[in-house]
């Protein structure tokens, strides 16, 4: 049977992906294709997925190099809406900067910025209805900002202080906000994917009209949960929008380790026969348009969509990371799709709806607002400085009703506090 003698066959090779640029390299992104606006025009939302597959390989764009909004994808938003979008994105950036600094000042243990990716959370959320359910990863604080969640609450969570809605239990940025239809953020990658599909299945099973949206990073697409989610979404035609924020990096691993050398992440959709869109993630109008298209599809029983946002992680993975150790310093500066905040600003200015003065005034206003809010938040305490939820709250919410063993352990913990702080220490 062995009719394949190996004798004169060249040896096999293991291919181990390598990014184009490493520390010290100078960067040339001219090979990244930036197709013209409307290279693929916007198909009707009711189209069946198969004729759509080209969308998975293109790049939906709206804001052109001359800062005008163009083409069939142009969502035609009015200036107020665009200014709100810009404001949300600026707020998010200012918030990230401030909280990053707070971590560096030792006020908390950890922080994660979304710099450069603001459009993928803010603009995407603005295209949804307020009660559509969002299942974020840890880098979509922009959803909360777009939905008007109180910054103070976010900061209290980051500080794990006595006003933290999550009782100090979660790592900073792992928010939960049902009042904003924002699901509890997990530290475990991609687990939110099948959850979002399940929520959408429930909405459909009940004949509701709400849909769900879920985000993960391109690195996270490798987890099995991603596949479970796409399979269930495809099988039950679930009204869910699955978004991959392809910011090129997963901690120190470039997107090639998630498979980017071969095809796009939007192409995964093609494999399941569902709609897939690849979108310039640094173009807030393209993000909005893509999300709106997908939402309209989902809401009209045309099923799930997978959207890849092609973007760039401008900063480190988190406060625990130093990106200079593994990638070329100038990558973000050279990113061909630019900066989403600058692009929207330029668009509004070009349209005569904004100017540099209003922009700096707004930047200042937001910085002040955030600084003031931070002061408020710090009154409730910062991590490790004493103002935290009562010790016994640690034993709540493991179950709805506390079983005997947790009651006993709580007593034990209180005894320990008494032995530390003195016999008449009282739980507060």
């Amino acid at each position: 049977m062995a009719d394949h003698p190996h004798g004169n066959i060249a040896p096999l090779r293991l291919h181990v992906p390598e990014p184009k640029y490493r520390p010290g390299d100078s960067v040339d992104f001219s090979d990244i294709a930036v197709p013209p606006v409307d290279a693929i025009s916007r198909p009707d939302e009711n189209s069946p997925p198969s004729p759509l597959s080209a969308l998975a390989y293109g790049l939906v764009r709206v804001l052109d190099f001359d800062h005008s909004a163009k083409g069939s994808w142009n969502p035609g938003l009015d200036a107020d809406k665009l200014r709100l979008m810009l404001r949300n994105m600026m707020m998010l950036r200012a918030f990230d900067d401030r909280m990053f600094r707070a971590q560096r000042q030792g006020k908390t243990s950890f922080y994660m910025k979304s710099t450069g990716e603001e459009a993928t959370s803010v603009a995407a959320t603005m295209a949804l209805a307020a009660d559509d359910m969002c299942f974020p990863s840890y880098r979509q604080q922009g959803i909360l900002i777009a939905r008007g969640y109180a910054l103070l609450k976010m900061m209290n969570q980051i500080y794990s202080n006595r006003a933290d809605h999550l009782k100090g239990r979660q790592l900073p940025v792992m928010y939960s906000a049902p009042e904003c239809s924002f699901y509890s953020v997990s530290g475990n990658l991609t687990t939110q994917y099948p959850q979002a599909v399940g929520w959408a299945m429930a909405s459909a099973a009940k004949g509701d009209s709400r849909i769900s949206a879920v985000w993960c990073g391109e690195g996270s697409t490798a987890e099995g949960d991603f596949h479970s989610a796409l399979t269930f979404a495809a099988v039950y035609n679930a009204p869910v929008i699955m978004q991959v924020v392809n910011n090129q990096w997963a901690i120190s691993s470039f997107s090639g380790f998630a498979g980017a050398e071969r095809t796009t992440f939007a192409a995964r959709a093609v494999g399941y026969g569902i709609a897939g869109l690849r979108v310039d993630g640094n173009d807030p109008l393209a993000v909005y348009a893509a999300m709106r298209w997908a939402a309209d599809r989902a809401r009209t029983n045309n099923g799930p969509t997978l959207i890849e946002y092609f973007t760039y992680r401008a900063e480190g993975h988190s406060t625990s990371d130093d990106p200079l150790a593994y990638r070329a310093a100038e990558e973000f500066a050279k990113w061909p799709m630019g900066d989403p905040v600058n692009r929207l600003k330029a668009h509004l200015i070009a349209a005569g709806e904004w100017d540099e003065e209003r922009h700096s005034a707004q930047a200042e206003e937001l910085a002040d607002l955030i600084k003031a809010t931070q002061k408020e938040a710090e009154k409730n305490g910062t991590l490790g400085h004493g103002l935290h939820h009562p010790f016994e709250s640690m034993f709540d919410d493991v179950f709805e009703h506390q079983p005997w063993h947790l009651k006993e352990q709580c007593e034990q913990m209180l005894d320990e506090q008494r032995s530390k702080f003195g016999a008449d220490w009282m739980p507060k």
Binding site: M133, F135, H165, L166, K167, R169, Q170, M174, S176, A177, P178, Y183, S184, S186, N188, T191, Y193, P194, Q195, A196, V197, G198, W199, A200, M201, A202, S203, A205, K206, S212, G224, D225, H227, S228, A229, T231, F232, V235, D397, V398, F399, E400, P403, W404, H405
Partner: protein
């Protein structure tokens, strides 16, 4: 109203789901082969036909997906009752269960809960080989945030399953598949007695609950306490009757939260305690029981807590009965503990 009917364990489980589908529009049931066909053990037979395809349905073969979508459905307000076809196949769904469902109430400070009941047949004795025989229950008791329930009779199965479905926390509901059709005494060479000959097969046709966290004393006695659950309740009972030892046999029914009061009261009375389970020995739930009993009843114990368990090997296909903690193993342990 409270008409009684003789049911085997599958029928009792089916009845519990049927009733809960009718009572609570949030209840949804799904899993591999669960819908049209009604489950490889027929536990969901007839339910799709009666309650419709959006309440009872088949799924892709992805335990990760099954548990994951259950969590999302919970956030929507549903009360999912997924089936994992065999407990041996729960591992691909374990991350969603442990890292997500079990932690959701805690990490979101009650914003989101996961009132999910995962049903799964477990245990051996059916020549299922190493991938249709496992008893992984102890793992779930180590993961704070999950309840673990194991019935041993049709009556308990129905009442506990209803309570599990109504519970607002995730419950793993392991069904001892060896006794689906009749209580098994461990004598594999004797004919199986059908449930209809057993008192606990008399099951109310209507709704009733058995509170989670409460053990059942299936035999009162003074000489020795036997803590057990699932299939092994019946094996232990048979040995006790045969040996004529005055053991108190406690069917734990819920492993977590555990009925510590019933255990303490019994062991303090008898001074001797034995645990019987089919799972592998090392770090099995018997370890936790032994640890607890010696912590809480140390000065009452006349002998060390004995563990009678499966061996620390995979469940071997052909040597199933040498592996199974049957009458000989239990009898030897009783002899030993009574001598000590």
């Amino acid at each position: 109203m409270t008409a009684m009917k003789s049911m085997n364990m599958i029928e009792a489980i089916n009845s519990a789901m049927d009733i809960m589908l009718a009572r609570d529009p949030g209840v949804v049931i799904f899993g591999e082969d669960v819908g049209y066909f009604g489950g490889v053990f027929r536990a969901t037979a007839g339910l799709q036909k009666k309650h419709g395809k959006t309440r009872v349905f088949d799924t892709p073969i992805s335990e990760c997906g099954i548990v994951g979508v259950s969590i999302g459905m919970s956030a929507y307000g549903l009360r999912p009752v997924p089936e994992i076809q065999f407990a041996d196949y729960i591992y691909p769904g374990l991350d969603q269960l442990v890292s997500e469902a079990a932690r959701m109430r805690y990490r979101s400070a009650g914003d989101y809960i996961c009132p999910i009941t995962i049903r799964s047949p477990f245990g051996g004795g059916i020549f299922g080989g190493q991938t249709h025989s496992q008893s992984p229950e102890s793992l779930f008791t180590h993961m704070c945030g999950v309840k673990t329930v194991i019935p041993a009779t049709p009556y308990d199965a129905k009442g506990l399953l209803i309570a599990a479905i109504e519970d607002n926390d995730p419950v793993v509901f392991f069904e001892p598949k060896r006794i689906y059709n009749g209580p098994f005494t461990g004598y594999y060479d004797r004919p199986v007695e059908p449930w209809s000959k057993h008192a606990a097969s008399q099951v109310p046709e209507d709704y009733y609950r058995i509170e989670l966290g409460k053990a059942a004393i299936v035999r009162a006695g003074g000489a020795l306490t036997i803590l057990t659950y699932g299939t092994m309740v019946h094996v232990a009972m048979a040995v006790v009757e045969e040996m004529g030892v005055d053991a108190e046999v406690i069917d734990l029914r819920t492993l977590l939260p555990l009925d510590i009061e019933a255990i303490e009261a019994s062991v303090k009375k008898t001074g001797r305690c034995m645990v019987v389970h089919e799972a592998t020995r090392t770090s099995g739930f018997g370890a936790e029981l032994a640890a607890l009993v010696q912590e809480r009843c140390f000065y009452h114990l006349e002998a060390p807590v004995e563990r009678v368990t499966g061996f620390d090997t995979p469940y071997p296909h052909s040597l199933e009965w040498a592996y199974f903690p049957g009458p000989i193993r239990i009898g030897a342990a009783i002899d030993k503990i009574m001598k000590d």
